[in-house]
Amino acid sequence: MKPKYLPLTATIVIFVLSYALCVAQYPNILSTRVIGNLLTDNAFLGIAAVGMTFVILSGGIDLSIGSVIAFTGVFLAVVLENAAIHPLVAFAVALLIATLFGAVMGAIIHYLEMPAFIVTLAGMFLARGMAFVLSIDSIAIKHPFYGTLKGLYYKLPGGGRITLIGGLMLLVFGIGILIAHRTRFGTDVYALGGGTATAKLMGVPVGRTTIMIYALSGLLAGLSGIVFSLYTSAGYSLAAVGVELDAITAVVIGGTLLTGGSGFVAGTFIGILIQGLIQTYITFDGSLSSWWTKILIGLLLFAFILMQKGIVYVSRSERRHA
């Protein structure tokens, strides 16, 4: 096997093993209901994490996605409450705003040569601030179209459901994989991660690519915001706090290097599932106090990273000996 597939394989192996362990303890975890929930409940996180994967692959980071999700939700709620437009139109406008927001951050990062961490941190403050200004209340979205959308699902045997948003996440992952590995833009993203200066000398349009990457991340954060608003039928300015950290964690658990240039969109999907599994396991257990929950999440995170390191290390040295 090619060395670049190692972390991904390691992640998949770890996921399957831990899933098996969880099932051994709580057989219910194998039900289609839990699997359906895993997709539905993590849909917004997964979609945002696809954007984050591209950003991280390019060697950057986007801390603004949680705030953009919240902003999108509040924006939709306020617009649908006050204006008589169809939600689809509102969706389009929201996606446009989110994409533009990302593009502007990308432009600042590129043209002003500022670190992505800080630019997107300011973006995080700004987007959350704008959400506050729109409304500090949580606003329910009562438009019938939302009901229609939520009624769309595919029923699995055993009571589980693949909901619209769960399916949307799968679709986004599929498209993300295609973009990453089958388009010139995708290769350019990896190229930026390999080194901006070098990429530039090799003729990669660095500015355009950077802007597109953050625009894509903004777009997906916006989409994630729409999904979140479908998920909760509401817009709330305090929603999705810290989602960026969850997304980063998923991306990294998925085997992508934060230094950029190496990793897979598909890995992020496994990362999301692993995080979802940790959560599910903790609720199934249900005996942990608030603080032990935190400690356990931290420890499990650590264990996953360690196992991944271990598998990669062991198989590397085995290959060398062979």
Partner: protein
């Protein structure tokens, strides 16, 4: 000597200008801003508040600077603050002496740093993720110590560290001043600073040159842990209780921001403790300014974001190049003392 001073002034110029601009702005929305008086044997006024309230972020920023110089990042400092506050409170309430309490607490902070350093330097885990582990678990540990409640204490000695004053200055201000100067001296009067910068710029080349990279990396995270411990003690002493749930919450972001405003690159390398301290003071000035301005709280984040973006844009390389270009034109042929970075 004057040359060194001049190069210092040059290095800190952008931060000083930004600080002055913000203070000026605040004094527009709040005219009494610069008023200082002596009350209860200590200086009293908004300026002092900024220095006093800024203490935790300043302290965190000091450690964060060194960590970032090694091309790392420490997301766990907020959680470590909470742990150390909780440890301090539970130690003092369980009857340990003040000295013993401080020892235990600082030791805890250093231990947390050791853990982070071990993950980064020995297990070779990426710093963001390595420290994320403690960021998540750490708050849980802190809550475990306090059992989720605010652990209050009445030890006058410990409280003195947070709200006492000496020579008209609040103690936290004196602590961070002294600690900052101490760290800056240690780093600059020994070879530590250069070696750390070397690691941050090129770890492989440094290792091949015989630099003890793992040890220095671990030391950097330990320093960061120590800073977080001091900050945690001050934060707890300030409110006479350890609030494991909220102490240091999101403060890591402020500390990182302070370092960046201070002009240290997140890609590692050249760093300046003084500039980071100034960065932290700038952030606190913004916060205090917002509070004094009387705007509704919905606008807090937007104002903060706008000011930060403005400062950072001014400090961005293209803007700086434009400025240095003007300066160079003026200085014409004179060889420059030091390349402005």
């Amino acid at each position: 000597m004057t040359a060194i001073l001049r190069s210092y002034a040059l290095r800190l110029l952008p931060q000083l200008i930004a600080l002055a601009a913000i203070l000026l702005m605040v004094s527009f929305v709040f005219p009494g801003f610069f008023r200082l008086e002596i009350q209860n044997g200590r200086l009293y006024g908004s300026l002092i508040d900024i220095f006093n309230r800024g203490a935790p972020v300043v302290l965190l920023a000091i450690g964060m600077t060194v960590v970032i110089a090694t091309k790392g990042i420490d997301l766990s400092v907020g959680a470590v603050m909470a742990i150390c506050g909780a440890v301090a409170a539970s130690s003092i309430t369980s009857g340990h002496s003040l000295a013993m309490t401080l020892l235990i607490t600082l030791g805890t902070g250093i231990l947390c740093g050791l853990w982070n350093g071990f993950l980064v330097a020995v297990l070779d885990i990426q710093p963001i993720i390595a420290t994320l582990v403690l960021m998540v678990a750490g708050r849980g540990i802190a809550q475990l110590v306090t059992e989720g409640a605010i652990l209050t204490f009445n030890d006058p000695g410990l409280i003195f560290l947070g709200s006492g004053s000496f020579a008209w200055l609040p103690l936290p201000v004196l602590i961070w001043l002294a600690f900052g100067i101490l760290v800056a001296l240690i780093v600059r009067k020994t070879a530590l600073g250069m070696l750390i910068e070397a690691i941050g710029v090129n770890r492989q080349a440094s290792t091949l040159s015989g630099v003890l990279t793992p040890v220095l990396l671990i030391a950097a995270y330990m320093l960061s842990g120590l800073c977080a411990a001091i900050a945690g003690i001050i934060a707890a002493a300030d409110i006479k209780g350890a609030d494991a749930n909220n102490a240091g919450l999101w403060l890591e972001l402020d500390a990182i921001l302070a370092v960046v405003i201070g002009g240290t690159s997140l890609l590692g390398g050249r760093f300046s403790i003084a500039a980071s301290v100034l960065g932290a003071i700038i952030i606190q000035s913004i916060n205090t300014g917002i509070l004094l301005s009387g705007f509704p709280p919905e606008f807090n984040l937007i104002i903060k974001a706008a000011i930060i973006v403005f400062i950072l844009v001014l400090q961005s390389p293209p803007a700086r190049n434009a400025l240095t270009f003007v300066a160079l034109l003026r200085a014409s042929r004179k060889p420059t003392e030091r390349q402005a970075r």
